[in-house]
Amino acid sequence: MTSSPIWRLAPGQRLQHRCWEGECVLYNDLSGDTHLLDEFALAVLQQLAGAPQPVAALAAAFESEGATPEDDAALFDTILADLAALHLIDTLPC
């Protein structure tokens, strides 16, 4: 696939969560696990819950201070990979 993958909230995830002082607990509707996430990871999930989008659109929705676009891309790639490993998000089938 040559074009950028479209990320989305995994079907079935309702994002039940609570945030306290920068840390969040989140219930995973698919695996039944409870995750400890930071507010940024939760914000990424909420952004994807709003609409499926490629990583570029996702990065544009967040302001970064002083980082280069390459740093941004690397950061988002890492966080998306981690969230996908937890079955919270996946990519739309091509």
Partner: protein
């Protein structure tokens, strides 16, 4: 209301040997059957104030403590715990029948009572506020619980905190407080008037004894409580009494780790734990002297007034 004491020991023993003694503990009715005179005597002493029910309401749990049949009876006296035709535990020496009974009662609730989030924790209440004391082994939770109860805190439970899934209040299931090894002597000294069962040695947990629940706690067994604090105790010799707040997200996870059925309850378990964290303040609590600990808990109450 008929209690174990009012029923009288001969009738208690007869029901245990026959169709079962139906004992009410908090929200549960347990049908207990056993031919053991030692168990009958222990129940008569430790559960004197507890209601005994008739056969017109179905029991929640069915506990049978029985000796093996045949020659093994003579060689090595043992007792089995049977539940619905299964044997959840290995058999234990007959001398341990009363502690086994208490462990069996805990098992029944922690394995089945999925209308509550069941936390492995003691819970006591005073002035309308409940403190939950989750209990990894070695934390000193039971000693602390027994000490608080001896100083006027109402006992809701020493092992099983039942958090209602619908409204987050705590339902009591007050039963004798279990004490191990050194804490038996500590509590004997701390509360000379408390009734302790005869210590049983060489159990899997060492030497074990149980402190009878105060009559007032048993009388109020159907009165729920509102949680105000979650306190993770850690006894350390010589440590000053110190409460350190736990960040709430971490507290949620630690609470979940200490709950028997958190994962089984799924989304409802998550919501119940989250509500509990929002309603309460959570602390790590280290202490070395019970007097210091009492003062700290009274200070918590004072802050609320």
């Amino acid at each position: 209301m008929l209690t174990v004491a009012a029923l009288g020991q001969p009738a208690v023993a007869a029901r245990l040997r026959g169709r079962g003694l139906r004992l009410q503990t908090g929200p549960f009715i347990t049908c207990i059957r056993s031919a053991s005179p030692a168990l009958a005597a222990a129940l008569g002493r430790m559960y004197a104030d507890y209601p005994v029910m008739g056969e017109d309401i179905s029991a929640d749990f069915d506990v049978l403590l029985r000796r093996p049949r045949g020659l093994r009876r003579l060689v090595k006296p043992q007792v089995y715990f049977h539940y619905d035709g299964m044997e959840p535990f290995q058999p234990l020496p007959l001398a341990q029948i009363y502690p086994m009974f208490e462990w069996a009662m805990n098992w029944c609730v922690s394995s089945h009572a999925h209308s509550w989030l069941v936390i492995h924790a003691a819970v006591v209440e005073k002035e309308g506020a409940a403190v939950i004391l989750p209990a990894p082994p070695g934390s000193g939770k039971s000693t602390l619980c027994a000490a608080l109860v001896a100083r006027g805190w109402r006992l809701l439970s020493d092992e099983l905190t039942l958090v209602r899934l619908d409204d987050g209040r705590i339902d009591p299931v007050p039963r004798p407080v279990s004490l191990k090894n050194g804490s038996i002597d500590v509590i004997r000294a701390w509360a000379p008037h408390a009734h302790l069962s005869p210590p049983v040695t060489d159990t899997l947990k060492g030497t074990v004894a149980h402190m009878r629940a105060p009559a007032d706690s048993v009388a109020r067994a159907r009165e729920p409580a509102t949680p105000a604090w979650i306190v993770f105790p850690q006894w350390r010799a010589g440590a000053p009494a110190e409460m350190v707040p736990v960040p709430q997200a971490r507290a949620h996870l630690r609470l979940a780790e200490n709950a028997f059925n958190y994962s089984l309850l799924g989304a409802a378990g998550f919501a119940s734990a989250a509500r509990l964290i929002e309603q309460t303040r959570t602390f790590d609590f280290s202490y070395g002297a019970l007097d210091d600990a009492m003062a700290v808990f009274e200070a918590l109450l004072a802050q609320r007034r």
